[in-house]
Subunit: 107 residues, 2 copies
Amino acid sequence: MTARCMVDVDDEKLERGARCIKMLAHPLRLKILMVIGTGEVPVSGILEAIGTSQSNVSQHLGQMRDKGILIARRDANQVFYRVREPKVFELLALVRELFCEPGGAGR
Amino acid sequence: MTARCMVDVDDEKLERGARCIKMLAHPLRLKILMVIGTGEVPVSGILEAIGTSQSNVSQHLGQMRDKGILIARRDANQVFYRVREPKVFELLALVRELFCEPGGAGR
DNA sequence: ACTTATAATAAGAATATTCTTATATTCAAA
DNA sequence: TTTGAATATAAGAATATTCTTATTATAAGT
């Protein structure tokens, strides 16, 4: 009677879940999500806020876009990104509670 | 006024968060968490439920133990594992909603 | 047509993760 | 005090991720 949370999840779904979680499992991608927040931010704005190369940011954005975490909208020669599903932030808040608070898990 | 969720998180915390999320970002580790669930399960039980080698399971358990996600208790010559913080399951449920439901994100 | 600004992609070296094989540890029972 | 059962660790090949450098695409303005 254990494993009630995701019970009966077949291996394919496990793979999919893991692949998606992996998108959040990188400090720059977390930072990008934080910078975008609930708004819509042009790549230039993200670049400003994050300390790495244009190419690197673009590739991280691309990954999250491809996985459906971010949505891109082009306006003239700027591209604006937003977080598709605000529940991502609940997830990040939980991560923070779990792993960043005193008494939490993270090592 | 964006980035309200984890704003003011310094780079070290981002690294830590990412490292912890990474612990959830693997299909076998997800499966192990599901198998353990809210109970306390001996390694032998986990082994039975999961389709890979003893060594591989042990190494995944070790990772999650080291990161403080699992707690191990030895009783005679068995080792029992449990999930330290049940909130992990809220997190997994959110992941499921976000990435495994129709209309969700996961690709 | 050029040029410039903005963003994406390609290629590949550097690095990290995963899994396999072999070996070691721990404890109980004989 | 050996043996066996249960689990952990070491070493390294196989694989995947990350980031850098160079190039390409896209759209606006000149």
